[in-house]
Symmetry: C2
Subunit: 310 residues, 2 copies
């Protein structure tokens, strides 16, 4: 961990939001009616924004606590059991995850065709969205930073409020707007949009105009990942660009989540925003060079090597 000051302790990130079982079918072309498509490869892996980010941080050497709603109970909701076991295998603390008796946890079937395009179908039980954290203040008691997605806004909002009350910084992965989007935009110190999330929230297909539109509602740091192209962010209301790393992309699934996780970790370790974005962009680029969603998240040494060579 060469960028951390000698003697500094390992940073702890609380990731809060959604976790999914991603079932990936590698196909020649997408499934269609009246044809039985045979996949040549299959993987069942962890997915979901916050859960993927948690794995990325763990791979980079950070300590991670994950919190979010799951189906249950254990033993009956085998999908939740598998996701939680997968997170625990990465060294992530999942003891604060809530199991809701009755619904099953979320699952996605993802077909990836010969050109690397994805077709995703996701099932999520609406009862999970009603879940709230047991003790938000306890959740944020011993962490250095919070990373939240906006897929379970009821759950996430209370955690973010507790973090804000404690003066913690909060990175928001701002995907498509949901309930409480406005409240989250103001609670969170750093908002990183997806292209689609910014287009919908900023009501503009022009990314720079979208960032400026959102600026009217919040003083938070604002940026947008841009699907592998140059990222944009606002600095003193000026739009800045971060050149992306040139890599041979074979699978972009989870790359945005790796960015968010690495960005939060880098901030927690004391980097300025511009340096944290560059660290995160390097991590996301490396992920794209490997098939298998979040299983392709890089180690700290790999990211440092790419940064040193760039």
């Amino acid at each position: 961990m060469s960028s951390v000051e000698p003697g500094s302790r390992v940073a702890t990130v609380l990731c809060v939001g959604v976790a999914v079982l991603d079932e990936i079918f590698r196909v020649e072309s997408f499934p269609a009616p009246h044809v039985k498509t045979r996949a040549r490869e299959f993987m069942a892996i962890t997915g979901g924004n916050a859960a993927n980010a948690a794995i990325a941080i763990a791979r980079l050497g950070g300590r991670v606590v994950f919190a979010g709603p799951f189906g249950g109970p254990a033993g009956a909701d085998m999908i939740g059991d598998r996701i939680l076991a997968g997170l625990a295998r990465e060294g992530i603390d999942v003891s604060n995850c809530r199991r809701i008796d009755g619904p099953m946890s979320s699952i996605s079937a993802i077909s990836i065709d010969a050109r690397g395009e994805r077709a995703i179908v996701n099932y999520r039980d609406d009862r999970l969205a009603a879940a709230r954290p047991d003790d938000p203040a306890a959740l944020v008691a011993d962490v250095d930073i919070v990373l939240a997605d906006n897929r379970f806004p009821e759950f996430v909002l209370e955690v973010c409020a507790a973090a804000r009350a404690k003066g913690l910084r909060i990175v928001l992965d701002a995907d498509q707007p949901t309930r409480h989007t406005h409240a989250l935009l103001t609670l969170c110190s750093h908002v990183v949009f997806s292209t689609e999330g910014l287009a919908a929230t900023g009501a503009s297909d022009d990314l720079a105009a979208g960032l400026r539109a959102v600026r009217r509602h919040t003083g938070s740091f604002l940026a947008v990942t841009n699907g592998g192209r140059d990222m944009l962010w606002l600095e003193d209301d000026a739009v800045r660009r971060l050149a992306s790393f040139r890599v041979e992309a074979v699978d972009t699934l989870g790359a945005g989540d790796v960015f968010h996780g690495a960005f939060a970790l880098a901030l927690a370790e004391g980097r300025e925003e511009a340096a944290a974005m560059r660290f995160a962009a390097a991590a996301a680029a490396l992920k794209c060079t490997r098939f298998g969603g979040i299983t392709g998240a890089p180690t700290r040494a790999e990211v440092e090597a790419l940064l040193a060579g760039a």
Copy 2:
């Protein structure tokens, strides 16, 4: 079980072939690139021709032994564990299933859209296809009839040879041709094609012509299920028709498998072919009235009621 002679014992059917975990996503429209499709319903159920037929027979009151290759070992291949647990819950004897260490068992993701159309992607490890039964003679020792599909021909062929040596009747679910199709056509006493299977095997899109073409290679009973339309079969080289039962179809997934299972059971109970086909067509029609693949397979009483009312 009103059609069975008083005092007759319950018939035992050996079902041999493929079992799959079918994950069903009920969607408005099919998943496509650049869109995240949200499913409004999800079910994980048993699928695969022979396994579905086994469940249909169990629901109809027959005794069922299932045999076929699965991934393994238990505990590592969670998909196989789930399929086998599901079959056992239906009262099916799965003690003769072979677990192959290394590969995982088969899985399908099936999207069903608002019009009831299906898009299927399936993953099957090629190593399963190389598996052979441990002791084919023991498998057929205590059964009244065998039902085989042709998805694992290496495994099924040896079981069919042992059944034939014992003089047992064998019903073949003849889907798309695979290896050993010709050998299976001659070993099996009753061959029931899918429309696609007959078109490929009989080299004709005309079902009657296809049946006559196959007749040149085998003296077995030959029929074709016809996707809910009138079925055809050969009787003394004359093409006969069986009118289908009129039902409001909401889900045809597994209906063909219900037909094969019910047909084999009815033959084992002593019905003639024409009566067995009518019994099977009633069972398949009832299945189509219920969503959820093979979970919609009917009971004996339901089939008898439909037959009595028709």
